[in-house]
């Protein structure tokens, strides 16, 4: 076992495949010498040089478009967007090109590309640098979407993302970069569509991912004092989705709370709730609860941001409302 941070885990995943496969390369804004806005690629420029760790102009459309073109022509690009919020600038290349080319072309072109997307709030970066946008991405047929919560998963999901022959959206929560965790000595790819039961429990199921895994575990601790035994599921992969783990848990607990940092209206947790309400309805004996951010842009003020974003207390309240 080794200790490393989440950010280091992401880097480790990329580095392993870059060492093995010369077709894997990284590009994005300030990913080179600067090491990326959050330092995730730091050191890789020195190790791999400017051919394989490339700074781009501020042209998100061209970044994703070039990822599409180079993947179609046989490379395995890893594109970094500095913030997921800038997806809006390269959305066409992602949604109308990357996601649809395989299908539109009858399966005759494949696009092995990874897009790294630092997401989430909590760093006082205000409305245009703090969004959670996984709901948009999971709604797009043709994209896979993963969201690691810890260093071990960061590595394993990155390996699978690079190995995948489809466009993979790799979302990272920016408050987690410095969070440490244990990593097995021998790392292996984590297959997509396998959730991780972080804590077993019998009374209620909390389904979440990314940063909110920590909030959920904290909530579980608090709730344990009230003798509520919580099961916490870290989805890790939003699409493909591990429905079986979800259903198994709900068949046991009969209560479910869905947690994400997204603006609640239209959140990916809505898709999860809908899926459960359609496919697992009779196993639920209480309303399907959702915890999310308020339906506002993310405000700058620390007090306001903390109020708008969900936290452990909100999860505790949601769970308690079911008993």
């Amino acid at each position: 076992m080794r200790k490393m941070t989440y950010g280091q885990g992401i880097k480790e995943g990329m580095r392993i495949r870059m060492l093995e496969n010369p077709d894997v390369f990284i590009f994005g804004e300030d990913v080179g010498l600067f090491g990326g806005c959050f330092g995730v690629t730091s050191g890789l420029f020195d190790e791999f040089g400017d051919k394989r760790v490339r700074d781009t102009p501020i042209s998100e459309g061209a970044i994703i478009g070039a990822a599409v073109g180079s993947a179609a022509a046989g490379l395995r690009p890893i594109a970094e967007l500095m913030f997921i919020d800038f997806l809006t600038v390269g959305m066409d290349q992602l949604v109308n090109q990357a996601a649809k080319m395989g299908y539109m072309f009858g399966g005759k072109i494949k696009l092995p590309m990874v897009v790294r997307l630092p997401a989430g709030g909590g760093v006082r970066a205000a409305a245009q640098h703090s969004q959670s946008l996984e709901a948009w991405l999971t709604h797009v047929p043709g994209l896979k979407v993963v969201y690691p919560s810890n260093p071990q998963d960061a590595i394993g999901l990155m390996l699978s993302a690079i190995d995948d022959d489809n466009p993979v959206m790799y979302i990272e929560h920016k408050t987690l970069y410095a969070v440490p965790g244990e990593v097995e000595d021998e790392v292996k790819p984590i297959p997509f569509g396998k959730a991780n039961i972080k804590k077993e429990g019998t009374d209620v199921t909390i389904i979440t991912y990314g940063k909110q895994v920590y909030d959920a575990l904290k909530a579980a601790e608090i709730l344990a004092k009230d003798d509520i035994d919580v099961e916490v599921i870290d989805l890790r992969s939003l699409y493909p989705l591990d429905k079986q783990t979800i259903f198994n848990s709900i068949e046991k607990t009969h209560k479910v709370v869905l947690v994400s940092e997204e603006a609640k209206r239209g959140a990916y947790t809505g898709e999860l709730a809908a899926m459960i309400a359609e496919e697992c309805f009779f196993e639920c004996d209480a309303p399907i609860k959702r915890v999310g951010a308020l339906n506002t842009p993310i405000p700058f003020s620390a007090e306001l941001e903390d109020y708008v974003l969900p936290n452990a207390e909100d999860i505790v309240n949601a769970v308690k409302s079911l008993f």
């Binding site: 390369f25 051919k51 781009t56 102009p57 042209s59 459309g61 061209a62 994703i64 478009g65 070039a66 990822a67 599409v68 073109g69 180079s70 993947a71 179609a72 022509a73 046989g74 490379l75 690009p77 066409d92 290349q93 109308n96 090109q97 080319m101 395989g102 299908y103 539109m104 072309f105 009858g106 399966g107 005759k108 072109i109 494949k110 047929p141 043709g142 896979k144 995948d164 022959d165 489809n166 493909p240």
Partner: protein, 328 residues
């Protein structure tokens, strides 16, 4: 510049092939046999033909909504193209793409595209791959005049220029983006001046002169292969048909079309060919017939092909996941 007779004949054949294919598509659409949007290349044949004449099978192109000509010029097979227009399972895209999304990876055709300007950055990616791998492949990016106001033109050309990528940007300036004339969509006359913004060579040629296009693109391709970076080549031409089939073209004067019809690139080349004894009139007639037959065969192939199976609807979204089907 000396062009071999064989090259000339090949170019002439391609132009004919495009013209005949497009004329057939026009008629089939009018008869209601082809659904959806169809954007025809009639009148612009010299551009795709001249531009692709310097390319190898392993070179790339990106295309547009008006893609049939590019695909034929790059070596696309009429049968699979026609079957795709009909939405048949034998089509290039198994019937899932249609006219606007024909691609052929084996010929480096990275797809027609329904999004104006999408090709610019995809072409840059393909050029990057060639440079990265150290091959001498190039990518020709086709696009219309009006697409040069789209975001991607700017970002694509900028990136290609700073990385010196082997991409040739071929602008088909047919004077209009749907109903909006060039004078109303940009304040310049020669789009090639935009190359200045990227410190890239830019040149304007007569897009109805296949040799002029060939020469300009050929030079750009050689430079690209040698690692000397991208070029912007503007080819002035005109589309004879409406923007899409069904467009009544109220926005342009009839005389304008008439003027341009006089500059039809095909008789112009025919004249050259006969005057310079590259082919006899009889050869020309025979080639015309051959191309017509080829198009007829393609239609035949398309008509006889099956519709795609319902099961195929949920395939190819991913390489490894088959989506849930519907019980109906």
């Amino acid at each position: 510049m000396k062009i071999s007779n064989q090259s000339i004949i090949e170019m002439y054949e391609k132009m004919l092939k495009i013209r005949k294919f497009e004329t057939k598509a026009m008629n089939l659409f009018a008869e209601g046999k082809i659904p959806g949007f169809v954007h025809l290349y009639i009148g612009e044949e010299a551009v795709a033909t001249g531009a692709c004449a310097s390319l190898r099978d392993d070179d790339y192109i990106t295309s547009t909504h008006r893609g049939h000509g590019h695909i034929i010029a790059k070596g696309g097979d009429l049968k699979y193209m026609m079957a795709e227009l009909f939405g048949k399972e034998t089509g290039y895209c198994k019937g899932k793409g249609g006219s606007m999304h024909i691609a052929d990876a084996t010929k480096g055709i990275l797809g027609a595209n329904g999004i104006v300007g999408a090709g610019h950055t995809i072409a840059v990616g393909a050029g990057l791959a060639a440079q990265y791998k150290g091959t001498d492949q190039v990518c020709v990016c086709f696009f219309g005049d009006a697409s040069t106001n789209q975001s991607t033109f700017h970002e694509g050309l900028n990136l290609a220029s700073i990385w010196k990528l082997p991409v040739v940007f071929v602008c088909e300036n047919n004077g209009y983006g749907i109903s909006v004339s060039q004078a109303r969509h940009q304040a310049i006359t020669d789009i090639s001046v935009r190359a200045v913004a990227y410190n890239m060579p830019g040149i304007t040629v007569d897009g109805n002169d296949v040799f002029a296009v060939y020469e300009a693109v050929n030079e750009a391709v050689s430079r690209a292969r040698k690692g000397q970076g991208p070029t912007l080549v503007e080819c002035k031409t005109y589309r004879w048909r409406g923007h899409f089939e069904g467009d009544p073209t109220v926005y342009r004067p009839v005389e304008e079309l008439e003027q341009w019809k006089k500059k039809d690139p095909i008789p112009r080349m025919e004249k050259y060919i006969i005057e310079n004894k590259v082919m006899t009139e009889a050869d020309v007639t025979k080639l015309n017939e051959k191309m017509e037959k080829m198009v007829d065969d393609a239609v035949d192939f398309a008509v006889k092909s099956n519709n795609p199976s319902m099961a195929s609807a949920v395939e190819d979204v991913y390489t490894d996941i088959i989506e849930e089907a519907r019980v109906r």
